[in-house]
Symmetry: C2
Subunit: 209 residues, 2 copies
């Protein structure tokens, strides 16, 4: 989770473990109050009660710090077992929407994604910390639905991987766009409509190649 995790040495004064949590919490607090553009590392350091230099010793810069601070928000994502694929999808999408409704997630996530366009290392960091963790939910959900018989077992593994990627882009993209661009809540009614379209599209697409 930390920036470098510089192979914890056996000798020397150990890092203050509480400082990491305090800094990340202070970062989220600053994101809520100030937003991305007005957030400064000096301000975060003051909120966390550490020196600015300590912050720079642990993180390379604002981008990396905010990625870690936002990534913690997505740790609470779980795949519920509600009995049917539709209900499972609705549940996880609602969780995702609830996280994205929080101002610290909105402010931070889009900004670091924008920065990642010109920073491959940052994009990889985002992928590891945030994106891949959600994609696992799609994989689990599909496997569970196949066990239930709600989805046909995949034959071509390459095709299956492409389908998972497609689903992920559609789900995450739609919720993000609804929440951040359209600025409308992804509430239960919207999620229900969206899930119906997605499920019909997927079952139909696999039936008629």
């Amino acid at each position: 989770m930390q920036s470098r995790t510089p192979a914890p040495r056996a000798t020397g004064r150990p890092r203050n473990a509480k400082a990491d949590a305090a800094i990340l919490a202070a970062t989220r607090e600053a994101l809520v109050e100030l937003g991305w553009s007005k957030l400064t590392l000096g301000d975060v350091a003051m909120r966390a009660g550490v020196a600015k230099t300590t912050l720079y010793r642990r993180w390379a810069g604002k981008n990396e710090l905010v990625v870690d601070a936002v990534a913690e928000l997505f740790d609470e994502l779980r795949l519920p077992d509600r009995g049917t694929l539709a209900a499972d999808i609705e549940g996880v999408v609602l969780q995702f929407a609830a996280i994205l409704a929080r101002p610290e997630a909105k402010s931070g996530l889009m900004a670091v994604v924008a920065e990642s366009i010109r920073d491959d290392a940052l994009r990889e960091r985002i992928r590891e910390s945030i994106v891949d963790r959600q994609k696992r939910l799609v994989l689990e959900g599909r496997a569970r639905a196949q066990r239930r018989g709600e989805l046909p077992a995949e034959t071509d593994p390459g095709e299956a991987a492409r389908t998972v990627d497609l689903i992920f882009d559609v789900v995450a993209g739609a919720v993000v766009h609804r929440t951040l661009v359209s600025a409308e809540p992804a509430d239960e009614e919207w999620v229900r409509s969206f899930t119906r379209v997605l499920l019909l599209g997927l079952s139909g697409a696999s039936q008629a190649p």
Copy 2:
């Protein structure tokens, strides 16, 4: 398109009309070379061959300037008439993907959307300049498909509006997520798969309420 369009006065020295175009072009050029975070208004002014003060007289700040610069990229979006709804959708999605593949669009769009979270006026500006212009394509496409008989005529206008919003969030969100977060090209193969899922989902959803 300009920032203020301050009710063009009949008296006084008129604004240099070419300066606007030069500034917006310089902004896109700087977005490509520097990206959002390293783009400075002083640099843009130098590229455009105008004084920095002139730039501040026409735009309130970096956000508004970049919105206008990016908005021009979306002016070329057209709804092709390829005979079928599926082909029409594929065509417009491919155009959208082509625009988003350009680095000036990537760098600028996500950044201003991120900023718009804490700036309602900026979000409204984005909506007017970029979002609503695309949403019109969805409306036209649906109307055309209904004339062809590919989609049933809508009964409840409120329900129809919600459906259009849903389609728009799904299409734009999926393409943006694919291009910017997954960092994979939205090429013909992907667009074909996506369109199939979307169409099956929509026709099925309207058949079975």
